[in-house]
C-alpha cells in the first residue's frame, strides 16, 4: 500500500512552477507532413511512387545508356529479338527499340504532365473565380463550361489535329481545350464550401481583398483535391495521347510516343511480339502506378479520414 510510504512532507503545497504546466506533448506537424506520414503507411501507393520515380529517371537518362540512337535505321538488322546489342530488339526499320521505348515514354509523360499543368492553371483560375464570386459571374462561366463540355471532346481533338500539324504540341492543346473543365468544377465546389468558413470571414473583416483570400486561404485549403485531380489527369492524358497516336494522329516519325510504338508493333504482333511487349507493358505500368498513387494520395489528403 502506498499509504505507508507517505510522510507529512509529501503534503506540502506545490508552487505554480512545480506543477507541470501546459505541455504540448505531440510533436509539431503541418497538414502536409501529416498527409505524407499517412501516405507512407500505404504500401501500394509507396511502391507505385518508387516505380514511377524509376520510370521517370530511366526516361530522362535512357538515351545516355542506350547502345543505339533512336533514329538510326539499320536495314541489315530489322525486327531483331532482344539481345545484348539491342536490349529490347529492333523495329521494322532496324531502329533500337530500347532507345525508342524510352523516347516514347518521354513524349507520353510530357504530354501527360503538360496537359495536367494547363488543366491546373486554367482550371484553378476559372474554378476559383466561379467559386469565389458566385452569382452572375458563376452562372455565365459555368454555362460556358457546360457548353464546352457537351461537345464530344474526341471530335474537337480530331478536328483540331486535322487543322493543325499532328505534333506533341497539337495534342496537348487538343487535350487541354476541354480537360480543364473538370478541374474548374472541382475547384469551384471546394471554394464554395470553403468561402463561408469563419477563417475566411475573419480575413475579410481584417480587410483582405479577393486575391489575398483566394491565394492565401481558399486555394491552399483546396490543394488536396487539386493534387489528386492532377495525379488522375496525367494518366488520362497519356492514355488519350496513346489512343490518338494509335489512330495515326499522334507524333510523327522518327519521333515516337508509346502509342505510336504500339501502333507500329500491332501490324506484326503475331510474328514479333516483343515489339509490342515493351511499350505496352511500360504504358500499362505507368497508368497503373499513377492511378494507385492518386488513390493513396486521396486517402492521405482526405480530411474526412482525419481524426
Amino acid at each position: 500500500m502506498k499509504e505507508q510510504t507517505l510522510t507529512p512532507s509529501d503534503f506540502e503545497k506545490l508552487s505554480q512552477d512545480e506543477k507541470q504546466g501546459e505541455i504540448v506533448v505531440r510533436e509539431s506537424i503541418s497538414a502536409w507532413k501529416d498527409a505524407w506520414l499517412r501516405l507512407k503507411t500505404n504500401r501500394m501507393a509507396m511502391i507505385s511512387l518508387w516505380i514511377l520515380a524509376f520510370i521517370i529517371l530511366v526516361t530522362i537518362f535512357g538515351q545516355l545508356i542506350a547502345t543505339h540512337d533512336y533514329r538510326t535505321q539499320d536495314l541489315q538488322s530489322t525486327n531483331m529479338a532482344p539481345s545484348s546489342d539491342h536490349w529490347f530488339g529492333t523495329d521494322s526499320l532496324g531502329r533500337d527499340m530500347f532507345s525508342r521505348t524510352w523516347m516514347g515514354s518521354g513524349i507520353s509523360l510530357q504530354v501527360g504532365i503538360y496537359a495536367a499543368l494547363v488543366d491546373l492553371v486554367v482550371g484553378v483560375i476559372m474554378g476559383g473565380i466561379m467559386g469565389y464570386f458566385g452569382g452572375k459571374v458563376d452562372e455565365v462561366l459555368n454555362r460556358f463550361c457546360e457548353i464546352l463540355y457537351s461537345i464530344p471532346s474526341l471530335l474537337v481533338v480530331i478536328l483540331l489535329i486535322v487543322v493543325m500539324e499532328p505534333s506533341m504540341f497539337t495534342i496537348i492543346v487538343a487535350l487541354s481545350i476541354t480537360g480543364w473543365i473538370n478541374m474548374a468544377w472541382i475547384v469551384r465546389g471546394q471554394i464554395m464550401q470553403l468561402k463561408n468558413q469563419e477563417y475566411v470571414l475573419a480575413a475579410r473583416s481584417l480587410g483582405a481583398g479577393p486575391s489575398r483570400i483566394l491565394l492565401k486561404h481558399l486555394i491552399p485549403n483546396a490543394m488536396g483535391p487539386i493534387i489528386v485531380t492532377i495525379t488522375m489527369t496525367v494518366p488520362n492524358a497519356i492514355f488519350a495521347e496513346a489512343f490518338l497516336s494509335f489512330l495515326g494522329l499522334g507524333v510523327q516519325s522518327p519521333a515516337a510516343s508509346l502509342g505510336t510504338l504500339i501502333n507500329d508493333a500491332i501490324k506484326a504482333m503475331t510474328v514479333y511480339p516483343w515489339r509490342m511487349l515493351f511499350p505496352a507493358t511500360l504504358i500499362s505500368l505507368t497508368m497503373l502506378c499513377f492511378n494507385i498513387f492518386g488513390d493513396g494520395l486521396r486517402d492521405a489528403l482526405d480530411p474526412k479520414m482525419k481524426k
Binding site: 507517505l6 509529501d10 503534503f11 506540502e12 506545490l14 506543477k19 504546466g21 501546459e22
Partner: protein, 335 residues
C-alpha cells in the same frame, strides 16, 4: 436499492498514430433501478466513450476494453454481437446529441419506432403502430397519427429529439442512456425535452444515464452525479452533495466557473487555469494536479483513490486533501 448496472474498473484504450489514447482509465460506478444519474465532465474526459461502451457501440479494434459491466446480473463485455442486438433497444435505449444525424432520413418516424417493437417484442404490425402512436403522444408530439407517417426532415430539431426519445423508449427499456441530448437545442426547446425525459422516467420507471457538460441540466433532472476528469471518476454523490458540499477541487472549480443569473455583475468568474492533460501520456499522479490550486507534492506521483467523504458511502471523492496529513485549506470557498 436494487442495482441495475455496475461498472468495475472499466478501461478503454484507442490505438492512434504516436501512441495509445487512454480514454477511460479504470472507472467504477453503479446505477440503481429507477434512478437518474448524470455523468458530467468536459470534452475528452471519457464520458461519451464510457456511455457508448455500456452499449458496446464502439467497435473494437480500434478500441481495447477491459474491466466489467454488469447489467441485470449479466456481463455486457462478454456478450456476442448477436446477444448485444437483443439488449440494445430492448433493454437499453440511447439518444444522441445530434437529432439530425441519429435518425435515418429515408424511413418514416413511425417505421423507425415500430422496427424495434416488431423485432424485440414480436408485435404485430398493427399493434406496433398503435404503440408507436402512443409513444409519439407521450413524448409530446402533437397530432401523432399524422406524424407517424412523416420523415425526419419534416420534423424540427426539438421534434426530432422527441422522436429519438420515442424510439429509444418504445420497448420500455430499463436503462436510457442520453448522450448530451439537449446540447444542440435552444434553451426553450431544451426545457421541453428535459421535461419529457423527467415525466417518462417517473411514469415508466426507467433508469437514466445523462451525459452532459451542463451543470444546470444536472441540477434540474438528476438524482446523482458522477464527475469525470481525464478518463477517471473524481467525485460522485447525490446532486445535493455535489452542488452543496463539493469535495474535489475540480468539481469546486467547475461550479465556480459558471456565472449564475443571481450572481452580482462585478463578481469576477474564477476559471480553472490550463487545459486537461493529453491522454496519450496521462500523468502518473492525480490528473488534475497541474491545474489544481490545492496541489501538493504527493499529487505529482500518486494517484488518489476514490474514497468515501466523511464515512458517507454515497459521496466519494478522489483527492489527497482528504488524507489526514493534508493541512486543512485556509478557508472553505463558498460556492
Amino acid at each position: 436499492m436494487e442495482r441495475l448496472l455496475e461498472v468495475n474498473d472499466l478501461r478503454v484504450n484507442f490505438k492512434v498514430r504516436g501512441g495509445t489514447v487512454q480514454a477511460v482509465r479504470g472507472v467504477n460506478f453503479h446505477i440503481n433501478k429507477g434512478e437518474a444519474v448524470a455523468i458530467v465532465g468536459e470534452s475528452g474526459c471519457g464520458k461519451s466513450v464510457t456511455a457508448q461502451t455500456l452499449m458496446r457501440l464502439i467497435p473494437s479494434p480500434p478500441a481495447m476494453t477491459s474491466g466489467s459491466i454488469m447489467f441485470k446480473g449479466q456481463e455486457i463485455l462478454s456478450k456476442t454481437a448477436k446477444e448485444m442486438e437483443n439488449i440494445r433497444g430492448k433493454e437499453m435505449g440511447m439518444i444522441f446529441q445530434d437529432p439530425m444525424t441519429s435518425l435515418n432520413p429515408t424511413l418514416t418516424i413511425g417505421r423507425q419506432i415500430t422496427e424495434g417493437l416488431i423485432k424485440h417484442q414480436n408485435m404485430s404490425a398493427s399493434a406496433a403502430r398503435a404503440r408507436a402512436i402512443e409513444m409519439l403522444s407521450l413524448v409530446g408530439i402533437p397530432n401523432p397519427a399524422a406524424r407517424f407517417n412523416q420523415y425526419p426532415h419534416e420534423f424540427s430539431g426539438g421534434m426530432r429529439q422527441r422522436g429519438m426519445i420515442a424510439i429509444a423508449l418504445a420497448c420500455n427499456p430499463s436503462l436510457l442512456i442520453a448522450d448530451e441530448p439537449t446540447t444542440a437545442l435552444d434553451v426553450t426547446i431544451q426545457a421541453q425535452i428535459l421535461r419529457v425525459m423527467k415525466d417518462l422516467q417517473e411514469r415508466m420507471g426507467t433508469s437514466i444515464i445523462l451525459i452532459t457538460h451542463d451543470l444546470g441540466v444536472v441540477a434540474d433532472i438528476c438524482d446523482r452525479v458522477i464527475v469525470m476528469y481525464a478518463g477517471k471518476v473524481v467525485e460522485s454523490g447525490t446532486k445535493w452533495e455535489i452542488f452543496k458540499n463539493p469535495k474535489h477541487p475540480y468539481t469546486k472549480g467547475l461550479l465556480r466557473s459558471v456565472p449564475r443569473l443571481d450572481q452580482r455583475k462585478d463578481e469576477p468568474l474564477i476559471p480553472i487555469f490550463g487545459t486537461p492533460p493529453d491522454l496519450i501520456k496521462p500523468p502518473a499522479g492525480c490528473s488534475f494536479c497541474a491545474r489544481c490550486d490545492e496541489a501538493m507534492r504527493v499529487c505529482i506521483d500518486n494517484d488518489p483513490e476514490l474514497l468515501p467523504v466523511d464515512g458517507n458511502e454515497s459521496h466519494t471523492s478522489a483527492c489527497w486533501m482528504a488524507h489526514p496529513y493534508a493541512k486543512p485549506a485556509k478557508q472553505e470557498v463558498s460556492v
